[in-house]
């Protein structure tokens, strides 16, 4: 198998698709390789038979998986089982995975601490491997309710977790015992708290992230900036960190003559797996630690194996140990990048300048994970290659080594650690500030949206040919495939402009309204209302809805520019996300009624971003290309925000739409009088289905076929009112509501279209 282990790793990857055609194709390829004497008969047999074994095992597992089989009904009350994950504890909660004895299913348990009373939670003995009895109600995790939204259910499923339990009283949990590994988990939390105590908060947050794999302390702002600039790999412990730490450690031991080389190597073989647990046990930590251990062992045993074989064997070992790893983003990124770099050994070991080498590494990394990056985040940041050129060496030569030394010194020479602490702050703060400046002025992401697998196949093909010719030094072909590669990305960016489909989407923003209208050929993007929520204190506006629903949806559709942001009225559940949208996206104009008054804060943000506000009156018409929006109401100041709601009519995809904001029956009656002939197909039910609107008279008059209700699940207002639902049923109007169906999307081409709901209807 020597030299060909990657074929075995690929057969696991292929089997994980469980698509028969892909598996057959791979079999054919293997047989072809055998026929051309590129692999031996035995290798051929091993690869194909393991493909069959993997495939049948994965299919079997899928059938048994809790999500696909009829669920073992979630239990309430007494659950007994074992804690099967490390325990994470923050100021307000404790979280761990728990495997129930009876059903053999994993549950995510979250214990919310009572922050008012100073209770001691260490007494309940929550440790890895502990046997516990938990009183609580198992719930099925929330699935994503909007296109592009993070899917918590899937996320947990990928970790093998099918339920969650929330506990507010520590009396409901009792545990005893622990596993031996707990010592390491305890050591980890001990290290984490002691660095917090001994060092400044700033330095300890970086130390905890870079040496101990816990980035809780680093501000969300920084984490997000790192994400935007493809620098997240520096925040997660990976090959770079492990390599540096091992290097420094080994160097110190040997050069200070503390140990012989032999013994130092033995010690490393012993310590690295322990370090992997202490550093949080993320897939990238395991990958890099296991690879280092393997190389040391190979040298020791005088065995020779190529690096690609080593990584392939580790890949197989990890996925066979835990098949869910394959679906984790960190695992995918780590293996993808490392494998691509190992393949490029000939390219990056050419005798060119250091900058050339660092640059080509940066480019290869970015290109190799680009499909993963876009599938997850929907955008790429082309300039991040250059920022990586600055920050990767900075982290490798300064930040990571100094953090490692600080860590050592906090135990060996505390005064020295404080000196480095100050020094680190002095250097690191301005350099991070520089990144923030770059982020502010040079952030030009290319938002590509969701991309179908077919295009990734093309992309990968060109990338492969590009790298192959780069390796062979055929510069004209390198140029050709480089251009083709860029062309694929450009094509993906302009694809929406070639798409004859348009859509109207009612997002599930909870209790509130947000609609996105996308005209065919990307001729215009309109957003109608942008609901927001409040933080836990009920006073500060929260960016949750924007971050979790609106932005992911727009990004997944490849939208960065909004032609018009139409706001019906100034209530938080309709305009709460406006400041965030305006700050982050390119909004061309805002449309409101004449009788709409902005809050001062919002006005200031609009001015800062120089966004024109178009105030319209009843009877006005907004023309955008060949799309027209007719403003029906309000014609005068009605006093309350709800009554002042902008009511407008437009035609899209062969249907007539009426958007009504939060108007009440009184306004409905006025509209009936003012527009005696109005008829519509789709009515946005006013005020989330409250019984103060949507009168029988209004329904008779407008005669809609479909009713859209944007309403929060279990909201405290009791929307939508049962009365209204019964009324709509009586009129035979098709009801679509976000609380039950998630986002509703009407996709059309020409005058024909279909409604889709994000969740299956019977859910």
């Amino acid at each position: 198998m020597k030299g060909n282990w990657h074929l075995l790793a690929v057969s696991y990857l292929v089997a994980s698709f469980t698509t028969i055609s892909i598996n057959l194709l791979y079999c054919a390829m293997i047989i072809l390789l055998y026929r051309h004497q590129r692999i031996t008969r035995i290798q051929c047999i091993i690869i194909i038979s393991s493909l069959l074994i993997f495939l049948s095992a994965l299919i079997l597992e899928q059938k048994e998986s809790p999500i696909n089989s009829p669920l073992p009904t979630p239990h309430s009350s007494n659950l007994s089982g074992t804690i099967v994950s490390s325990v994470t504890e923050t100021d307000n909660k404790i979280e761990f995975q728990f495997k129930e004895d009876k059903s053999d299913q994993k549950t995510l348990v979250t214990i919310f601490k009572d922050t008012n009373s100073d209770q001691d939670y260490s007494s309940i003995n929550i440790n890895f491997g502990a046997k516990c009895t938990i009183i609580g109600k198992q719930e099925i995790p929330q699935p994503s309710k909007n296109p592009g939204q993070f899917n918590f259910q899937n996320y947990l499923k990928q970790k093998g977790v099918s339920f969650q339990v929330t506990i507010n009283d520590k009396k409901n949990v009792s545990c005893y015992g622990s596993s031996k590994i707990t010592i390491l988990h305890k050591l980890r939390s001990g290290f984490l708290t002691s660095t917090d105590k001994k060092l400044s908060g700033y330095t300890s947050s970086w130390l905890n992230a870079l040496v101990l794999g816990d980035d809780e302390g680093i501000s969300e702002e920084t984490v997000e900036a790192f994400q935007r600039w493809s620098l997240s790999h520096l925040l997660a412990i990976s090959g770079l960190h492990v390599g540096l730490i091992v290097g420094i450690f080994y160097f110190l031991l040997v050069k200070l003559q503390l140990l012989t080389k032999e013994k130092a190597q033995n010690l490393l073989i012993l310590l690295l797996p322990i370090y992997a647990v202490i550093a949080g046990g993320a897939p990238s930590v395991w990958r890099s630690s296991l690879m280092t251990v393997s190389f040391l062992l190979l040298v020791k045993l005088r065995l020779r194996l190529s690096v690609t074989d080593v990584i392939s064997i580790i890949f197989l070992a990890l996925v066979l140990y835990d098949p869910n790893l394959l679906h984790q983003l960190g695992f995918q990124f780590s293996f993808m990048v490392t494998f691509a770099l190992l393949l490029s050994k000939k390219i990056i070991s050419r005798p060119y300048s250091k900058w050339y080498i660092i640059f080509s590494i940066s480019v290869i990394c970015q290109l190799s994970i680009l499909p993963l990056q876009i599938n997850q985040f929907y955008f790429i940041n082309p300039l991040s290659i250059f920022v990586n050129l600055l920050y990767v060496p900075y982290f490798s030569f300064f930040v990571i080594p100094s953090m490692f030394f600080t860590f050592l010194f906090t135990y060996l020479a505390p005064p020295l650690s404080r000196v480095i602490d100050d020094l680190f702050k002095m250097i690191h703060q301005p350099i991070l500030k520089l990144l923030m400046e770059i982020d502010e002025f040079l952030y030009f992401p290319l938002i590509l949206g969701k991309v179908e697998g077919f295009y990734w196949f093309i992309y990968c093909l060109f990338f492969y040919l590009f790298m192959k010719n780069l390796e062979k030094n055929k510069s004209n072909l390198v140029l050709k495939y480089g251009c083709l590669l860029t062309f694929v990305l450009i094509f993906l960016a302009v694809k929406p402009y070639l798409d004859p489909h348009g859509s109207v989407t009612m997002l599930d923003v909870g209790q509130g309204d947000s609609f996105v209208i996308e005209l065919p050929y990307r001729k215009g993007i309109f957003i109608i209302d942008a609901a927001g929520t409040m933080s836990a204190d009920f006073v500060t506006p929260s960016n949750k809805v924007y971050k979790q629903v609106i932005k992911p949806y727009l990004y997944s559709r490849g939208i960065a520019k909004v032609d018009s942001l139409i706001l019906s009225h100034n209530d938080h559940d309709h305009v709460g996300s406006v400041p965030f949208i305006v700050n982050e996206l390119n909004v061309k104009q805002i449309v409101v009624s004449k009788y709409f008054s902005f809050s001062e804060e919002t006005l200031e943000i609009l001015n800062q971003n120089k966004i024109p506000v178009l105030a319209v009156d009843a009877g006005d018409e907004i023309i955008y290309g060949d799309q027209s929006i007719r403003i029906l109401y309000p014609d005068m100041d009605k006093g309350t925000t709800n009554e002042n709601s902008l009511v407008f009519y437009t035609e899209l995809g062969g249907l007539r739409w009426l958007f009504t904001g939060d108007i009440d029956e009184g306004i409905e009656n006025e509209i009936i009088l003012a527009y005696p002939k109005i008829e519509v197909d789709v009515l946005k039910i006013a005020h989330h289905g409250s019984n103060t609107s949507t009168s029988e008279k209004f329904l008779t008059h407008t005669n809609p076929k479909f009713a859209l209700i944007s309403v929060g699940d279990n909201n405290r207002y009791g929307h939508p009112s049962l009365e209204i639902i019964e009324r709509l049923d009586k009129f035979n109007i098709g009801i679509m509501r976000t609380d039950i169906q998630g986002a509703i999307r009407y996709k059309f081409k020409g005058k024909i279209g279909t409604f889709f709901s994000h969740l299956p209807y019977d859910n």
């Binding site: 390789l33 020779r304 190992l342 780069l470």
Partner: protein, 227 residues
Amino acid sequence: MYCLWCDQEVIPQLSWTNLLLPERTRNICESCENGFLLLNGKHCLKCSRLSDETICSDCVKWENDPTWQGVLSFNQSVYSYNPMLRDVVTKWKYRGDYLLRDIFQYTFKDVFDDRFVKWEKEAIIVPIPLSEERMLERGFNQAESLAQLLKLPYQKPLSRVHGEKQSKKTRKERIDSKNPFEIKVQVSHPVILIDDIYTTGMTLRHAAKLLKNQGCPEVFAFTLARG
């Protein structure tokens, strides 16, 4: 697999080039293989000698001589006869390490297929024969064993009269020597002669001349090394 030359274990290195198409089993390690000089740079189109000119002075001389003009259409060699290759050939040919031939297994065939694609169908492959005495002494015919690498049928229409080894003669002696070959069967197809080394080209031309005199339309040569 262990390297046939240095005996080190050969560890195949995966790279972009062989990602989708794994390499054939290598029987020589990369560093030993790098010791050979593959003739893919500038060389004489007629005799494969390393040269900046398209036809080297040697070939000009041959072609100006009315006796030898046009006898051999061209010779294609795989490698230049550098010290590394000389060591390998010496061990293989004179010290009888027959298996060393497999070092050239793939390259020999690849270069042949590439160069003779036009004639492969029609032409007949003919290895330069050894005299009976030499055959007894050496145990194998190096030219024939190379011809076997091509995995194509070959014929033996020639026989050789025993004489001094070519390698022991000077250039002048070689050129003045009389034709050592005799023809057993007439050949009416083009012929590709196979030999291990092209030094002056005399041996190959002797064989070619004989074949041509007996009605063969065209003769080419394919050799492992150009001296």
